[in-house]
Amino acid sequence: MANKNIVLNMKSRKLMMRETVTSYLFLTPFLLFFVGFVIYPMFMCIRTSFFESTLGEKDVFIGLENYRTLYNDPVFWKALKNTMIIVFVSVPVTCAFSLWVASAIAKMPVIATSAFRCIFYLPVVTGSVAVTVVWKWMYNNYYGIFNFLGKEMGLIEKNINWLGDEKYALWCIILILLTTSVGQPIVLYVSALDNVDKSLVEAAEVDGATPMQAFWKIKWPQMMPTTLYILVITTINSFQCFALIQLLTAGGPNNSTMTIMYYIYYNAFKLYKYGYGNAMGVILAIIIAILSAVQFKLGEEK
């Protein structure tokens, strides 16, 4: 009896071994790219952040020196502040706007819903460079339509150099960012609204609930996982806003549009301070991880 058990055990272990080997054969192509071009660089990013590292020279270990420099770098703090402004303005606005648009278009006939969904997704598909270039023209001091329309409607008295003025530059960038970030949340909310349990909504309506009540008491709680996901991806996207800054203002005027992402690029690829840039990357990753964790915690409590 015992002997038989051992034999069976051996057999199942053999089977398990075979299964493992086949699985890894299937995984190999993906793992090759994943480990080689995602995991390894990730590891290197953390490692290099403890080194003084520049173009064509050997890395020198300096411990936490990069982080200390970072702490004393006023431009870094300015960049962090600007990034936070972008995130804390664009995330709530994106979520609220896309929720409202989604609930408005979800009620429409199917064709209209998918047409509007496409339209709001267009700025994403158009690509950051094309979008940025056309907005640059629209913001232009002399030939842009914003100055023209503003003067026509009596909102402004004389031409404003939108991107060249410290007061407006960051807000101009946030406006473009908003148009390129609502597309995905709208798609997600439309499908979430579609998946809401219809019988519950109907039951509530029979009981005399107003549409507002039906929305906030029945639909909203059911869409919580979607909202959470949207919060997380929008936060990550806002942190990564880069092309807009690089092509429109390059962080200027007077660092008023400097963001962490652009400052990393500037340090690494203009000044070739790889170690310093990586230290900033590590900090950025930590901030994003903390924010995502907080959002998940809040979402779970609700």
Binding site: F116, V187, S191, A289
Partner: protein, 319 residues
Amino acid sequence: MKNPERLDNKLNGEKIYSIFSYVVVIIFAFLFTFPLYWIITGTFKTKVEILATEPVWWPSEWVLTNIENLMSKRSAPLFDFTIPALKISAFGYVFKLGSAITITGPTVPAAIRWLVNTVFMSVTSMLLTCLTAAMAGYVLAKKRFWGKTLIFTLVVCAMALPKQVILIPLVREMSALNLYDTIWAVIFPIVGWPFGVFLLKQFAEGIPTEMVEACRIDGASEWRTFTDVMFPMIKPGVGACAIFTFINSWNDYFMQLIMLTSTKNLTISLGIATMQAENATDFGLLMAGSALASVPIIIVFLIFQKYFTKGITMGAVKG
């Protein structure tokens, strides 16, 4: 009993609100399409109309000067690749067989070459991603093996991480591999990005395990099980993964910016960005370039948008 008048009022209120929301959504839709409209009309406007202080809403005559300008600015070979010489080193000697052969295509406007590069990059990333992700997603969903949890955890963690964090080390890695300033330096990290695996694992989990087991009992090899049973069943997922990767790699500007430098290797977005730095106020030229960069991808998006929407929503489930 409900007061009929109140019911009437309530219905009226709802009606007014829904008309109001229709109008506002339509206004926003106009604002969202306006930049694209401005790109396309700007492409065909004359210089005078582009630099008019009072905007010209509709070109009075459609001219091709901007496109001609774009095509004559720079030039590059249509394609070029090198077959390296075969080198064998043994016993301290290096035997060289033949010499490196470089094949160069006819010279064309650089914008055409950029378009070719971009299409090649997006298509290759798409094919490689779909193949590797389908294989990995299949075993992650259907097999039990040692180390599975670890791999899946790494996949999820990597997805939440900002991609840009890894870019500095990637540049150095690519230089070390002699891939810097080649299109492969952009393709490989895209293929390694785990979103596709996550998406297709989600899809494969929806396929009943009995299907796979029945196939095994019938004596099909693992590979046959994958190609003949699994792959056809996760095809909608692969379609979503394909279109998602295609559009994202087309527009992945940051990666292209740091990896590609020489004129002949640029992508179309990067090319436009470079031109923008040189001719900051030649908006006609820039609009023509932007149109060339965005119109093809928008057409692809419109054709496959059903799959695309599916990809976005599938990726979010349990995300």
